[in-house]
């Protein structure tokens, strides 16, 4: 009906235009039908990998452009870009997100990174060069990777050794977080993923340090929300009060989830202080769960089919980038 009606519509307007100007003078119509605005949160890089074929793509949420990472790596002369290439699908396990915060003097440095772990890696175990294939981060706005070999037998006191130490500190902290949350979710639920906003956590730590006289500047911000994704597709929200986690609101049920079959390949990534993106391979959906001053809710979903080439599934997704600005001035 739509197409035929448009033809009909055009022909009649053409009659009108003919009466005024001769055919061809019809006014244009600025319907938004052809717009492809996905409405993803800006300033994000979504990196998707198919474990069977090694198809490896990134999607820039701001420009809404997709890049074939393997192609890019093959065409690059830069070894850091070449390191991105998937050369052996048997080494593909899952992504592990590492928010690498560090202080360089008084400057806060932030690098959201991810590691492609080998299938044998068990979450919570210490990580060394044998546990991952590549460590990827953004060089300015371009993806670049270190190979695992660069982390083999690091020299004591070297930057690489310090990096591995920070990484393993985070691994331990993440394991503790998951343990803490697993204790508070309802008994009939199995924890799949636990997440807290690393930016906000880092800032709260800095503020706590400032109160103890070690410097730093206090900013207004929300409470540190602990997100718990369970295998049934529910998201629970907790906040810490006097050393204990208290439920913040009711749970959110994500669309279409029956059960999450592989939690290691399920991702929670930061969008802003107000929300997260969740990728669940079983549904091939990316969920935005956020709150705008009210309750957290499933705000939007995007199918990976709108991000990946036709017919290519994403078995795992890494979510990096600054996302919503960490606003020090917001009320």
């Amino acid at each position: 009906m739509k197409h035929t009606s448009k033809l009909f519509f055009a022909s009649v307007l053409c009659t009108q235009a003919f009466l005024f100007n001769g055919c061809g003078g019809s006014s244009s119509n600025n319907s938004s039908d052809d717009e492809t605005n996905l409405g993803l949160p800006a300033e994000m890089q979504l990196i998707m990998l198919n474990a069977l074929t090694g198809a490896y793509y990134s999607f820039d949420s701001t420009t809404e452009t997709r890049t074939d990472i393997n192609e890019m790596a093959a065409a690059s002369q830069d070894s850091a870009v070449q390191n991105l290439q998937i050369t052996d699908v048997s080494t593909i396990g899952h992504f592990f997100h590492w928010p690498d915060f560090r202080l360089s003097g008084t400057e806060e440095l932030l690098d959201l990174k991810y590691l492609l772990m080998v299938p044998e890696y068990t979450p919570g175990d210490p990580i060394d060069a044998d546990q991952f294939v590549q460590l990827t981060h953004l060089h300015d706005e371009e993806l670049a990777a270190h190979s695992a070999e660069e982390f083999r037998d690091p020299e004591a006191g070297s930057a690489i050794a310090a990096g591995l130490e920070r990484l393993n500190t985070f691994v331990t902290k993440q394991a503790e977080l998951e343990e803490e949350i697993a204790e508070v979710i309802p008994a009939d639920q199995q924890l799949c993923r636990a997440y807290i906003d690393p930016y906000l956590e880092f800032e709260l730590e800095q503020e706590a340090g400032a109160e103890e006289g070690t410097g730093g500047e206090e900013h207004a911000h929300g409470a540190l929300v602990h997100f718990a994704l369970t295998q049934s597709g529910r998201v629970y929200f907790y906040e810490e009060h006097e050393g204990a986690l208290e439920e913040l609101q009711g749970f959110v049920t994500l669309d279409d989830v029956v059960t999450i079959s592989d939690c290691n390949r399920t991702t929670i990534g930061r969008v802003s202080e107000d929300g997260v993106l969740i990728f669940i391979p079983d549904t091939q959906l990316l969920y935005l769960v956020d709150a705008h001053g009210g309750d957290f809710h499933q705000h939007s979903t995007w199918s990976t089919s709108s991000l990946m080439p036709e017919g290519v599934n994403a078995d795992m997704m890494a979510i990096i980038g600054s996302g919503g600005e960490h606003d020090h001035d917001h009320e």
Partner: protein
């Protein structure tokens, strides 16, 4: 058929001489005469904008519920939304303008030839609505125009804010065949309010195309195939940080068969078949957050009959309608069924009821709903003396609703634990009656008309089932599946007195509602306004109460002969009043404030000049928590010059609205703060008829 009513435009323009053309807007006390074609020009002369409400709001007790410059649904005697039925070429207009204040009426008044307001018994032929029926007719309503090649071209242009419109219609006809084509395009930029502020997202683009092919094999049979495609793209000047827009399309294809039979008692048989496809999307920041669609198939059989004493029309119709709504951020490119995991339905709704005490939802706000509606109606009238006439109307409706929640995400389906019958099929009936008496004597005044109607209205699908947020209105609305039918007792009285150069018309009405359906702002026990947990917007409940509407208008005219023997100068004054209260005596929200208008019109040969000044009073009758709206003045001017060259007619006109450039807000508009009325606007136009 007999036309029994009064020509309101004749009153407005002060033109009462019998040899002049009938005017465009007519209030009928009984059945409208579908065969009469009336001049459309006066529609535009008094129009404050291009919406249907803008075309009609200068009429007594008619207002426009505006929502920026693109939307203006008429509010008649305080009746709004579903209480006013709109017909386009005798068919119910298949749009969703009654559902929400931001939804435009899917019709282009600029392309119309007549607009009739029906109330009392006459309106029951088409619908039983307390606000009556607005019957819009364009060129396609008459399948056979004058023989030969005829056409009309008109255009106008406005500066500040820039706008233009082009309107054309051509017809080629002989005794047996008739082809008609019409096209309209209107475009206007965001307008400025009276204080010089440009109102963001107030632009409007409208395009319409029409065709009609008629075949008359003999003098008793007429067939017509017709089509109308209307597209309207407009901004919503609300307070959201990203631009909210609506793109609306209505596509109608119709078939009409008219038969003039032999029997003396049967004047005319008309069969009307219509397929209508309505769709509009709502975008914010370019993302489709909402999609509203309604597909209708309609069949109507209309009989015009006359016996020795009685005459009238009878009508039977069947409508199959499918209404679908999608409301999900950026994910409403199409209507889809939601997937089911086999888990419990309505888990999240139950959770919100438990935690917050209300069954909030963040899913699609309504089930897909199929409506099957049968209607039968008759309007009959008879004279019982030379001057007195009795008119009666009866309207019966049977509706079957089949809601299907398959489109709603499983966690947001209304759970059976709250209402096991929520999505059950519903079968409802209404029966409405109206009786009127009028005195219409040409040689003796006063003439008067009185009608008493008992009307029943079924709650609409959205009033029953809506549960969710609406982006464009930035509000959370709870429907109410327990709504009963709305009933009203309507008393209308019209009185016309004419003597020498004086003419006075008084109208009064009193409508008493039982179970009046309305939206009531939500507050918690402490009196704090409720806000929805997802968007922090206002929460509204669909409720019922008893309500009273009382009001009227008084109009006085004085006609004088200035340059000719016949009256060419008319002075007039008009006052409109309305009061609407619920059973507690509280005023209902957005009740039109009182208004008064004075004007003068001069018409001589090829010249027409009209100046009017309207004062809209401050809105004083306020619902609880409702904010006041200041009064304002509105000065309008219309000038026109005609040329007649052989069989061609050319008109140039100039029109000015809000010439005092006052800052004005429409109390009936939900967006009165972000979308005040336009400031000074000057429009020039040309009409060419050949």
């Amino acid at each position: 058929m007999r036309k029994l009513g009064l020509s309101i435009i004749a009153l407005l323009s002060g033109i009462a001489s019998a040899d002049e053309k009938l005017d465009s807007i007519t209030v009928y006390g009984s059945q409208g005469d579908a065969q009469q074609s009336q001049d459309a020009e006066s529609l535009r002369k008094g129009a404050t904008n291009s919406t249907l409400g803008g075309y009609l709001d200068s009429l007594p007790n008619v207002d426009s519920a505006s929502y920026g410059e693109a939307v203006g649904r008429p509010v008649i005697r305080g009746m709004s939304g579903y209480r006013v039925k709109i017909l386009h070429n005798d068919n119910h207009l298949s749009d969703l303008s009654a559902m929400s204040q931001d939804h435009a009426v899917a019709v282009a008044p600029r392309a119309s030839e007549r607009i009739q307001l029906l109330k009392g018994p006459a309106s029951l032929l088409y619908a039983a609505q307390a606000g009556g029926v607005i019957k819009i007719s364009d060129a396609l309503d008459a399948p056979f125009p004058e023989p030969g090649l005829k056409g009309e071209l008109s255009g106008d242009i406005r500066s500040d804010a820039e706008s233009y419109s082009l309107d054309s219609h051509i017809s080629l006809a002989n005794e047996h065949w008739a082809l008609q084509l019409g096209g309209l395009t209107q475009e206007s930029d965001p307008y400025e309010s009276g204080d010089g502020e440009t109102i963001a997202d107030s632009d409007v683009n409208t395009d319409q195309g029409q065709f009609s092919l008629g075949w008359r094999p003999n003098s008793r049979n007429e067939l017509q195939i017709n089509g109308t495609s209307l597209e309207k793209d407009y901004g919503i000047p609300n307070a959201t940080p990203e631009a909210t827009r609506i793109n609306m399309q209505r596509d109608d294809v119709g078939f009409k068969y008219r038969y003039l039979p032999n029997p003396l008692w049967l004047d005319e048989i008309t069969l009307d078949l219509l397929s209508s496809d309505y769709l509009h999307d709502e975008t914010e920041g370019g993302r489709k957050d909402g999609l509203f669609g309604q597909e209708q198939q309609r069949g109507t059989l209309n009989l015009a009959w006359a016996t020795a004493e009685w005459w009238g029309e009878s009508r039977i119709s069947y409508v199959n309608s499918e209404l679908k709504v999608c409301h999900e951020h950026g994910a409403c490119d199409d209507f889809e069924d939601a997937s089911r995991s086999g888990g419990p339905l309505g888990e999240s709704v139950e959770q919100y009821l438990m935690i917050r005490g209300l069954p909030y939802s963040h899913g699609h706000p309504m089930p897909d709903t199929q409506s099957k509606i049968w209607q039968a109606s008759t309007v009959a009238q008879r004279m019982f003396s030379d001057s007195y006439e009795l008119i009666s109307g009866i309207h019966w409706q049977s509706r079957q609703l089949q809601p299907d929640p398959d489109n709603i995400q499983e966690q947001w389906v209304y759970p059976t634990s709250l209402d096991p019958d929520y999505y059950d099929e519903r079968n409802d009936h209404t029966l409405s009656l109206s009786l009127g008496i009028n005195k219409q004597a040409m040689d003796a005044t006063p003439n008067w008309e009185i009608s008493l109607s008992y009307l029943e209205r079924l709650p609409s699908v959205d009033e029953l089932y809506w549960n969710g947020f609406h982006h464009a209105t930035d509000s959370y609305i709870f429907g109410n599946s327990e709504l009963d039918k709305e009933r009203s007792l309507n008393l209308d009285i019209d009185l016309t007195f004419e003597q020498n150069s004086h003419r006075m018309q008084a109208s009064a009405f009193y409508y008493r509602f039982s179970d009046y359906i309305y939206q009531d702002r939500g507050y918690d026990e402490s009196g704090a306004a409720l806000i929805d947990p997802f968007h922090l917007s206002q929460v509204w409940f669909t409720r019922q109460t008893d309500a009273d509407f009382v009001g009227g208008s008084l109009r006085y005219e004085n006609r004088q002969a200035l340059l000719r023997a016949e009256p060419d100068l008319t002075f007039w004054g008009q006052i409109d009043l309305l009061r609407a209260t619920d059973s507690d005596g509280e005023d209902l929200p957005r009740t039109a404030p009182a208004s008064a208008e004075i004007g003068v019109q001069f018409e001589q040969q090829a010249w027409l000049a009209k100046l009017s000044f309207k004062r809209v009073a401050k809105a004083r009758n306020l619902a609880p928590q409702e904010e006041e709206t200041a009064g304002y003045n509105w000065l309008s001017l219309y000038l026109q010059h005609d040329w007649q060259i052989a069989d061609q007619e050319l008109k140039l006109w100039l029109k000015g609205e809000n010439l005092l450039d006052e800052f004005a807000q429409n109390h009936l508009s939900v967006l009165k703060d972000t979308a005040p009325l336009p400031g000074r606007q000057i429009t020039a136009g040309i009409d060419w008829r050949f």
